[in-house]
């Protein structure tokens, strides 16, 4: 009895956090209790690393709204995650093979891009990553592109790259794999974005409402600029000329006007900060243009074509 009360109290706390995360409109406290009681409602998850840096995985572990243990034990079955799974070597390749051959419903998370021009540029189990990604995606009930590399290419699509990468949406299109797809750009992806998406899918059986690039409108409906703490300064043409000045950072290279994300509503690391609040122009890490040829620059940098605002 004692334990049950503890559990209910714990769920109440989690629910409080869900409300804070803005996910309460689709999850009631009763939903949460029901999900807690029925283990079979849990979402099976397979997480793979393509051409990636594991930054999105590390970011995922920073989630505070719902404890990682609860994600693993209450809301999902993490069948495979490269950084969490104790399974090693053949155990992993056997497991993934069995997942593909089974009737199991699962959600596929791909972190990083897929080098199809140079398939040997990303290998797992002595096999090009693309040969894992395609069959895993074909069998998945839905796919998640975790981070900017998986969504837009990011640093794996810089000028001068030789690996010929495809993003997850591009791979699915090229392979004619028609699956529900959600893209969560950000370098790294924000943990709140994936946890919200997973909870939504677990509770409702659908992905949240998406824009034309498969991004949840809830997080990517506005540009950084539109919600910026310096928006009024921009309107008043009050621009910073040096790092440390007050005012809009656009003349120092800020990418907030062309980057969709919710950094100034839900800042990084449990809203501890955001790039702009740290006095640094937005580098546009969630945008299709990342990384730009010039990021932070002086207000009079002759290499930058001056835009009129």
């Amino acid at each position: 009895m004692q334990e049950k009360i503890t559990r209910r109290e714990a769920l109440k706390r989690i629910y409080g956090a869900i409300v804070a995360a803005g996910a309460a409109t689709f999850i009631s406290f009763e939903d949460l209790l029901a999900a807690d009681a029925t283990a079979d409602k849990r979402l099976n998850l397979v997480w793979l690393h393509g051409s990636s840096c594991s930054g999105c995985s590390c970011s995922f572990l920073d989630i505070e709204y719902v404890p990682v243990l609860d994600i693993i034990s209450k809301f999902t079955n993490v069948i495979f995650h490269p950084d969490l799974s104790l399974a090693t070597g053949d155990q992993v390749t056997d497991m993934l093979g069995r997942v593909v051959d089974s009737k199991l419903d699962y959600l596929l998370v791909v972190e990083g891009s897929i080098p199809v021009g140079m398939p040997h540029a990303c290998l797992m189990g002595h096999k090009p990553f693309v040969e894992w990604a395609v069959p895993m995606a074909k069998r998945a009930t839905a796919c998640v592109a975790a981070g900017t590399c998986a969504t837009f290419g990011g640093v794996t699509r810089m000028n001068g790259m030789q690996t010929g990468i495809q993003t997850l949406p591009e791979l699915l299109a090229a392979q004619r794999i028609d699956k529900p797809l959600v893209c969560l750009p950000g370098c790294p992806m924000k943990p709140e974005h994936i946890v919200y998406t997973l909870l939504h899918y677990a509770m409702k059986g659908t992905l949240p409402e998406l824009d034309s690039q498969h991004r949840p409108l809830r997080f990517f409906g506005n540009t950084i600029h539109e919600r910026c703490i310096y928006y009024a300064d921009f309107q008043e043409k009050h621009y910073a000329r040096h790092i440390g000045d007050s005012g809009c950072l656009i003349n120092l290279g800020c990418q907030g006007v062309v980057t969709r994300n919710d950094c100034l509503i839900n800042g990084h690391n449990n809203n501890t900060s955001s790039c702009i609040r740290a006095g640094h122009p937005c580098v546009g890490c969630a945008s299709e243009h990342f990384p730009r040829q010039i990021m932070l620059h002086s207000h009079d940098d002759p290499r930058v074509i001056k835009r009129k605002f």
Binding site: A10, S54, C58, D62, P82, T93, M118, C285, M295, R303
Partner: protein, 515 residues
Amino acid sequence: MKRVVIDPVTRIEGHLRVETQMAGGVVTDARCSGDMFRGIEKALIGYDARVAQQVTQRVCGVCPYAHAEAAALALEQAMGLRPNENGQLLRNLIVGAYQLQDHLLHFYVLSALDFIDITAILNYRGNDAGLVTLRGWVKSEVESGKIFPAAPFLPRYEGAYAKDQELNISAIKGYLGALPIMADLHKMVAVFGAKAPHPVAIEAGGVTTLPTVDRLGQYKNWLNRAAHFIRNQYRNDLLGVAAAFPTYFNEGKGPGNFLSFPYFPEASGEQHAFVGGATLGGKYQALDLSQITEDHAYSWYKNEPSSGIKPLQSTTLQPLNMAEYQREIARDDGKYSWTRAPRYGGEVMEVGPTARVINTYRSGKHADFNRQIDSLNRELNIGLNEYDSVMGRHLSRLVCALRILDRLEAQLEQVQPEQSAFIERDMPKSARGYGLTEATRGALGHWIETDEKGYISNYELIVPTTWNMSPRDAAGKPGAVEQMLIGTRVADPTQPLELARIVRSSDPCMACSVH
């Protein structure tokens, strides 16, 4: 002869294949393959010099902060600039917190469950809420008849896990407790660096964030909590594992040569907590960067020459195409990794926390540090030579974490509140510079060259795991981890737990190593 392959090696950063040959249960040969190539360093050519800070961090989402620092240091050298005291201190507060997060990640999430028996939770009799939840979940999973019960904690290699129930439970509690502390440490990074992973605010010239009193207060609050965890839970769990596996002070001996770069200065930018240098054949010598070369005789590139290449000597990197790659892997002695082979005066070097400890100790520059190591060694009944081992590497991480923690606490008090931590300077034209630091997993160097407009004309990264996980060089010398594996006895070749423990003790970061 029997071939034992671990592919993929999980609970590391990135894509790694380990292939060994065994005779009579003992490893006679080992090859480590870095299995992912992006080509980021040469792709930087043509980008603005400041972009290196943001982009090189993306070679690694586990230790991005070190790349930010090395890139900023390289550009500062090209600018002829040093940050002011606040800039240096804030930078230290960012990278130091990140290192602590990374040490906890490596011990609890990536390595501990190679020693600790997760199934011990089934016999847990206490009433800690997290452990009770975990016990209930594991129990229901094991009884569920599912095809993958208790994933991601099962399946695992079966072998000799810790038998001490108290140690097992303490470390499992530590695992669960470490996650929120790691999130706090990332918040400490974010409060001055803007975010973690990939902090943006470390730039050549200092740190863009203003150290306001509220930010300093937040940092202190989280630091206090993390300090308590590290000095108690982490220390006890790590020393507990070391006591339960004393033979692992003799397993996984590497080349015995150690390289480290000066690390964690005081506000002046001098007096580093860890002394740089090289230990070769048991003798310490001062750092000489001209000794560093790279080699790709056994790596999947076709540039000529294939060995003795100095940083910035080459502006291109020509990866093998698919057909060439397939030809190489079909050959008995073909190329087998995307990782290149850095060498110091032609020698294979181990880098990482052990190298930091050994070089700092042998340099004799910090009497307090040597006293601390001597006392720890007496407590554990080991000598400095035992640091060159699986358990020695874990122990070195604890030593490094405690030393960084002391400095963070002291340096936090030295920050001048509300004073700028950033100096602006024009982009250096046609200039060169290098930046040296220590990532959590070892010595990291960046080299930059800019053109007449301030764009990058060449860039070079020589990264810790490139040293540790290097393949053979032109002279046929195996890399550091390959040497650690050779000679290891494996109880059950179908469950090569001993080999996985050795590989993970070097804390591989494969995305870094190939970049």
